[in-house]
C-alpha cells in the first residue's frame, strides 16, 4: 500500500510532496500510520470538500492506493476535518524529515 501526499499553496507556493510505501516503513511507523488513517476514517472522507479558497492557506491532497480500493482526498487547510489533521501533520513532518 502506498500513500501519496502533496501540500500546495501557502505564501511561498512551494509544494511539499511525499510518497510512502508501507513496505519501507518500520513496524512501529506502519502501525502509527495505519492508526492515523483509521482515525481519519480516510476511505469514507469525501474526495473534495467545497469551501471558498482562502488567501495563502495550504491545500492538501492525499492518495492511498494498493489496498482494497484507491481513494484520494483533496481539502483546503481551513476545511480539513479535525479527525484528518493528525494524519496531515504526520505526513508534513515525514516530508520534512525526508528533505
Amino acid at each position: 500500500m502506498q500513500v501519496l501526499f502533496e501540500r500546495s499553496g501557502g505564501f511561498a507556493g512551494i509544494p511539499l510532496t511525499l510518497t510512502i510505501d508501507f513496505a519501507n516503513l518500520s513496524p512501529d511507523e506502519a502501525t502509527q500510520l495505519n492508526r492515523l488513517i483509521e482515525q481519519a476514517d480516510f476511505f469514507n472522507l469525501p474526495a473534495t470538500t467545497p469551501s471558498a479558497a482562502k488567501p495563502d492557506r495550504f491545500q492538501y491532497r492525499v492518495t492511498i492506493e494498493g489496498g482494497d480500493r484507491p481513494h484520494t482526498v483533496s481539502v483546503g487547510e481551513t476545511a480539513a476535518p479535525d479527525t484528518l489533521k493528525p494524519l496531515l501533520n504526520w505526513l508534513v513532518e515525514s516530508a520534512r524529515k525526508q528533505k
Binding site: 499553496g9 492557506r57 528533505k99
Partner: protein, 357 residues
Amino acid sequence: MLHQRLQEWIHPQKQIQRRCICCILPPQMLDNLIQYGDEKNREWALTTLRISERFRGKRRAVGNVSFAISPGQKRRTIYDAKTSTSLPGVLVRGEGDPPSADQAVNEAYDGAGATYDLFRDVYERNSVDDRGLRLDATVHYGLRYENAFWDGNQMIYGDGDGQLFNRFTLAIDVIAHELAHGVNQHEADLDYQNEPGALNESFADVFGTLVKQRSLNQTVDQADWLIGVGILTSRVQGQALRSLKAPGTAYDDRILGKDPQPSHYANRYQGTSDDGGVHINSGIANHAFYLAAMAIGGYAWEKAGRIWYFALRDILRSKSTFQDAANATILIAEQLYGSHSDEQKAVRSAWQQVGVI
C-alpha cells in the same frame, strides 16, 4: 417614488460607481436615495457618497444616517500565539507601546505601519477597509509553520521550519502582501482561484513590493523587485520566493525545486494544485506591473501603483481575469494621465509583452 432619471442613474449601479474614478452625482440625488431608496439603492448611494466625500476630504451626515468612519489613525495590535493555533493569542504590543524584546513582534508592528502609511499617504485610503480598520497581527502561529496569511480579519505569521524557511515577518513585503489581501477583500474581492486568484495574488505582491520600495526610498531602477528576501534560509539556493522582474528565477534548489512562475500568458499553469496556480500564474501579472513601472520610471508607487490601486478599487470584480485587469489599468491610465499618454502606452505595452492582450 424615485424620479425616472434617478432610476436610470441607479440601474447600471456598479458600472457607474466603478467605471469613473471621480463620479460627480448631484448630492441631493444621493441624499434622496439614502432617505427614500430601497436597501440596495441606499447602500450604493452611501458607498458613492463615501467615495466622493473622501475626494472632498470631509465628512457629513445625511438625514439620520451618519458615517461610522473612524478617524484616520493607525491602530496596530500584535498578539503572540506561542506556537499554538488559537487566535488571536496573547496581546504583546499595542499602538504606541515601546518595542518588544521579540523581533517578530516588532517586525509585524513596523511592517503593518509602513503598509498603512503607503495606503494613507499615497492613495488616501483609511486602512485596509478604508474605514479605519484596526490592524491586528498574530506572530508565532503554529509549530514550525512555514507560512503567513490573512484570515479575513487579521494577519497571521508562522516561524518557519527553521531548516528551509525563516520566520515570515522577516520580509516587509510579506507583511504588506497580507494586508493587501485585506484591501482586495474590501474592494474587487477577487476570487481566490484560477485567474482571478492569480490576480489577487499579484495585487498582493505588487503592493508588497511597493511598501518595501517606499520604505527604502527606491526608484524602479534601484529596487530588487523580489518578494520575500530573507525568508529562505542560507541552506537554500535562492534569493527570494518570487521575482517580479524575472518570474521563475527566484530560487532553484535541490530540495525545494525551481521557482515555477511563468512571465508569459502562453506558459500559464492550468492544473488544480495551489487553488489553480494562484502563486504560480501571479508571475504573469506581476511581470506586467514590473514592465509598466519600469517604462514609467521614478517611484513605482506614485504612478504605476496608483493605476493598479484604482483598478482594484474601482473596476475589477470577483471574477475578473487578466484581460479585465489589462483593460482596467489601461482605462485608468487614460483617465489619470490622458489618452495616448506615455503612462497609458507603458501599461498597454506591458500587458502585450506578457501575452495577455
